[in-house]
Symmetry: C2
Subunit: 149 residues, 2 copies
DNA sequence: CTATTTTAGTACGTATTAGTACTAATGTCA
DNA sequence: TGACATTAGTACTAATACGTACTAAAATAG
């Protein structure tokens, strides 16, 4: 017997406990993640792009967007700022003049090789507090949540 | 025998599977949530504030920030725009002249009473696809994740 | 082969976000 | 009570974020 949702009982729906847990877990992680990047003079999206470009010969805007989940409109500005910092460079693609290849510069490669492992280790200190079993189970439930959207 | 993290093996750390699952689950939820609010002419933060103010006599900026996890600097702008839409109003507090009370206007109350239950039902259609048992277990693991930060 | 559609990236407007600095008001402590 | 710290909110900057519109280039349908 499901009751109709009204403005009085809406906030008592059981699933909202899960919603709040999801939002708070993500936000706390995101804040910790951003703090690690900021120590390297990078924002989270900038670091995400550097990490996507690392160990590649360059990626197009579309490919970077798919890896980082940054939409193309936002990506233009992020790449602009990384280019101003001399960490990446736009390279025209002669085969398909619509596409622009984005590559790490020598400086960008250095920053990647130093900051990337350090940041992964920085995250690992926290996730190591969860057992591998818990990590696997948490991952499974997060996949289930994602699957309903 | 833990291996040192380098820029070559860093991306192969097991816990990154969990990180990606968390980010993707949250982002898909957030996009679905935002779409529901946009149908009512609201942004997510604006709707969060309206929902926080619903069924109250008004809240201070600090209280709204605690409920919605919006920092005070951002909140000023969000409240400004809600005030421009005539959905909330700032009311000076005579007891403590530092505080401003934010209340729903009559229009804001109407929007809350219509949009809030509709939005909760809109979210419920998705979360109903998970069993109650899965919802409880997912919540437990999300609390564990939050606890390490 | 040409008209149409799709794809890639940019430009722009509005809104959010975090952080810092600032003012006014309140609380605290010696 | 008076110096000092704390609290509440605003102002400001830089960077995202998303949607829409736009241009150029490539792919495709007929």
């Amino acid at each position: 017997m499901s009751t109709k949702i009204t403005f009085k009982n809406a906030s008592k729906q059981d699933f909202l406990v899960l919603v709040r847990a999801l939002v708070r877990a993500y936000q706390d992680f995101a804040a910790y993640d951003a703090a690690g990047h900021r120590a390297a003079g990078l924002t989270s999206p900038q670091a995400d792009v550097l990490f996507a470009l690392g160990n590649t010969e360059g990626l197009t805007f579309r490919e970077i967007g798919e890896k980082t989940l940054i939409t193309k409109g936002t990506l233009t500005g992020v790449i602009d700022r990384l280019e101003n910092k001399r960490l990446v460079q736009r390279v025209p693609n002669p085969n398909d003049k619509r596409c622009t290849l984005v590559q790490l510069t020598r400086t960008g490669t250095q920053v990647f090789q130093e900051h990337f492992p350090r940041h992964i280790a920085y995250l690992k200190t926290r996730f190591d507090q969860l057992t591998h079993s818990d990590q696997r189970r948490a991952t499974r439930f997060l996949h289930k949540i994602k699957a309903v959207f």
